[in-house]
């Protein structure tokens, strides 16, 4: 019986890292998807701001409202537009870690 228990323990010890690696791959795929849609939204919104929409914001940081349907798949976080003296910066900052990380774009006025 001891041999059986040892064999089962060895099997479990070998299988657990494999199972973890699959779960880890799924998390990575989700994180990359989240980053991809965040980048796509920030790129599109930056293009709109650069085309002249930035003029509706005063100097300093402001929350930026995004209506993109894909934004519903983003984790909790905020879009911020910061109007500086020479440039304008749009940033996506997720609250949680491991969800694609922040994305920012900047352009000269």
């Amino acid at each position: 019986m001891t041999e059986l228990l040892v064999a089962l323990a060895l099997t479990l010890a070998a299988l657990l890292p494999v199972a973890y690696s699959f779960a880890s791959e799924q998390r990575l795929a989700r994180s990359l998807y989240t980053r991809a849609i965040a980048m796509e939204i920030v790129d599109g919104e930056t293009e709109i701001l650069a085309a002249g929409a930035w003029r509706s914001f005063s100097q300093g940081p402001h929350d930026y409202a995004v209506k993109a349907a894909a934004a519903t798949n983003l984790p909790p976080g905020r879009f911020t537009v910061t109007v500086g003296g020479q440039s304008v910066r749009l940033e996506w900052q997720p609250v949680l870690k491991r969800y694609g990380g922040p994305v920012s774009r900047e352009f000269s006025k």
């Binding site: 699959f22 799924q26 849609i37 796509e40 709109i48 085309a51 002249g52 934004a71 519903t72």
Partner: protein
């Protein structure tokens, strides 16, 4: 001794059965994950191409499930039908860019005086148990004529 051997055989079969079930499930999930990753990559490439063409279009005409772009080098038509997105250059063949598409719609908006085309794209999830709707939003500023 015989009882012990039979118990070992029964346990061996149980462990092997569970192991094979787990392996087949992992193989299936891995294949779905790869398909989903491919879908996302192709959708992003298609979206970037669409944005680039919208930016350079002189005129854009939207009808039902299609978008006709008048580019300097000719006409390009993006159409959504049969759960796929097609792209057709001039009188050339329609090329399937995306399959497994659930919904696709492009709309023109005005944002602080800027004309913006937004393409909302939704793919069918590969996994039936997926909790995420694969949504993509592409936006591009149109500098050409205002016709729709």
């Amino acid at each position: 001794m015989l009882l012990e051997a039979m118990a070992y055989i029964a346990i061996l079969f149980a462990v092997l059965g569970a192991g094979f079930a787990a392996m087949y499930r992992c193989v299936g999930n891995s294949a779905l994950l790869r398909l989903s990753a491919d879908d996302i990559a192709v959708a992003m490439q298609t979206g970037e191409r669409w944005r680039s063409e919208v930016r350079s279009a002189r005129q854009i005409d939207s009808r039902d499930d299609s978008l006709r772009l008048e580019l300097p080098r000719g006409t390009v038509l993006y159409a959504f039908r049969d759960n796929a997105v097609f792209r057709q250059e001039g009188d050339g063949p329609a090329v399937r860019l995306l399959s497994n598409v659930k919904a696709s719609a492009a709309q023109l908006h005005s944002r602080q005086g800027v004309r913006v085309w937004t393409w909302e794209l939704e793919l069918n999830p590969r996994s039936k148990t997926s909790r995420i709707r694969p949504l993509f939003t592409f936006m591009a500023v149109h500098h050409g004529e205002a016709a729709q």
